[in-house]
Symmetry: C2
Subunit: 401 residues, 2 copies
């Protein structure tokens, strides 16, 4: 596998563009389209928040037949809690995009991200859609990555190339997410394109499993959003033998690359968390089952006390084990070891004397690795989050800052 | 019902003392005993964190027979994650206290609060126990309230007097809790004394139900502790007809007063949350069932985005409804109204134009009241929390501050 340029337009047959429609302030890109010249097999994973923007439900509805051909997205307004008008506006976005691209409205995925409860400025949105549709190109990927950003400091993009049966296959992706990140899904958006030929059942399984390893294992602040989705579109342009069997070697080669793409973007989201000064990576090992490993990992990355401690460069294993203990997972603390990097801080649930300097070095890294070895099975999971700093409060306590 | 002085020593037959044993720094009280001259009917509610200090399990064990006669407590050290030595130390505390007071070791409740993973300084602890046991008095209640504090800024105490069948009954209580508060139980301690005569079954139900309304509905940072407990001791000295029937008028009079006591202390804990500048009270009304109401209430008080917004005096109803939506509770957002004080901000899941000045006034109160009216049933619940400020981060990011 190799890393290549281009993100969502790297795979054959995909073009895109992001434009400024003046929804956000300051001359920023805020409307984009990703389009495949051929209809795609497509799959998606969506937020489970009961408070969902209409774009989530309508996109899910459009994806029922397992196909899509374009994604239209705006930032600056989530079009959530906007009632019937909001639904009409989502439909209008799809309708206009379908018209301009001359494809079926059912093949349009719609995504919005931004402030909740404010009506969409449809004149601007429509203007942006027209502008983007008229300027789709291979070069439009970066603008597209920018157009989906909200409080993100940096765009998040990646593309890789692999070989299946001697045929080059590309996977490209962009993502956004900063505050209100605790995916189950949660405001994170991930758009993945590929020229691989994959059937719908396999693509849906790949999408779900990959999200479970990546976006669903990150947390910035524990708040799950109203608008999250991860969408993958596969247009088959690479010409490989269709991947139709989840037990095949080809499926696994593709899966490995897709997981790499999604995990990389997920970590970028965690790193760009509001106010974050570093990523926290929690590796849970030797759990009795996968749910236990995941639950413990997520609990630790979500704990305000652990996050504050990491911000303060404090090797506070007590808070880590306490977070595991209240997670709801069933495990035996008296068999559990805790490491900071390679420095063992607790053995069988009790503290050890450890090298404070080594611990401090680990805590100053850009990714702080915490390992929790339960020694009670064979299952593992990794979760990511970020520290809790003054800047998180500053960013989110709008008026008093 | 009237408020009286004295907290845990207000009811007949209870004496107490808190002393400085130099476990904490700065000449602070850190060991205490609460003692009843007569054996009590007793009940307790304990943390469900899988990582539990031995004092939790041993106290629970001692309470199996429904009786107790003294509580011995230390602050400054949680005696958690301290292995076999920690267990031996907990037993030693009970043993020494039982010896000095000439009561059964099984009638001793032991509580510790403070740092996790450090061995107990038993010479100091034993010295403190002797000192407290030699100085028990009606006047010792305030010192006792101080001796259980850790990062608390203020002591938390209350006593009330009610009448049952013309007989005066007193209930006194102290509590502590600041960071690591998200009781299920979670480092909160609550000790309640009463001279009422109540049987064991009723007292256990009263304890559990009252904790469910009070301590289990507060959150400071979402982190549940390793050491929490709420203990109630009833010594019967008031001479009322024994309360034995949960459907009786007497049971309900007592319950009302006990709930008042526990809710008052729970709100004091929320107010004293690390870095808190105000309490957030979330009243969930007209839910289809109680679990839904509780779940939504707790989700909102735990949301970092809501907490930051309140700190910033930002009337951000979108974050409130999003927190309800990801809580896991089953409800219909499109029927839900949201109020800030009496100012309606959202109706049927959609935003309203509201009076920003009135909203700002509400947000500047010491207790900010958020009402969530689901309009889908008859069940209500109230949850409390506090805002998320720079000071929370400062307090918990030890080194970098």
């Amino acid at each position: 596998m190799k890393i290549i340029e281009g993100s969502v337009t790297a795979p054959e047959g995909f073009i895109a563009q992001g434009v400024c429609a003046e929804i956000k302030k300051q001359d920023k890109k805020d409307v984009a389209i990703i389009y495949s010249e051929d209809k795609c097999t497509a799959a998606g994973v969506f937020t489970k928040n009961k408070v969902r923007a209409s774009c989530v439900d309508i996109s899910r509805f459009h994806l029922q037949d397992g196909h899509a051909q374009a994604i239209v997205v705006n930032s600056g307004n989530a079009n959530a809690c906007t009632g019937e008008q909001g639904v009409a506006d989502t439909v209008r976005m799809a309708e206009l995009t379908a018209q301009l691209l001359d494809i079926g409205i059912n093949d349009i995925i719609i995504a919005s991200t931004g402030v909740i409860g404010v009506s969409m400025p449809m004149d601007k949105i429509e203007g942006g859609i027209r502008d983007a549709a008229n300027n789709l190109s291979k070069e439009g990927a970066q603008n597209t990555a920018c157009a989906i950003m909200t409080t993100d400091l940096v765009k998040k993009e990646i593309a890789v190339e692999i070989e299946i049966d001697g045929i080059p296959i590309k996977i490209g992706a962009i993502a956004k997410g900063s505050g209100m990140i605790h995916p189950n899904m949660a405001t994170m958006l991930g758009f993945i394109t590929t020229d691989a030929d994959i059937n719908s059942t396999c693509l849906q399984k790949l999408a779900k499993d990959s999200c479970d390893l990546s976006y669903n294992m990150i947390s910035v602040d524990g708040d799950t959003s109203t608008n999250d989705m991860a969408i993958i579109m596969a247009n088959g342009r690479a010409g490989n033998n269709r991947i139709e069997n989840e037990n095949s070697k080809e499926y696994h080669i593709f899966k490995k690359a897709l997981d790499y793409v999604n995990i990389t973007l997920a970590k970028q989201i965690a790193r760009d968390g509001e106010g974050a000064t570093r990523v926290i990576e929690v590796q849970v090992a030797n759990a009795p089952n996968e749910i236990t490993a995941r639950t413990i990992g997520r609990s630790i990355t979500t704990s305000s006390l652990v996050k504050s401690a990491i911000f303060g460069e404090d090797a506070n294993w007590g808070r880590i084990i306490a977070a595991a203990g209240y997670s709801g997972a069933d495990f035996d603390p008296s068999k559990t070891d805790i490491y900071l990097g390679n420095e063992k801080m607790a053995s069988n649930g009790m503290g050890l004397v450890f090298d404070e300097d080594k611990a401090r070095q680990e805590l100053q890294k850009d990714t702080v690795i915490i390992k929790v070895d339960l020694k009670q099975g064979n299952e593992n999971a990794t979760a990511w989050g970020c520290d809790l700093s003054y800047d998180y409060v500053r960013i989110n306590a709008a008026y008093r800052t």
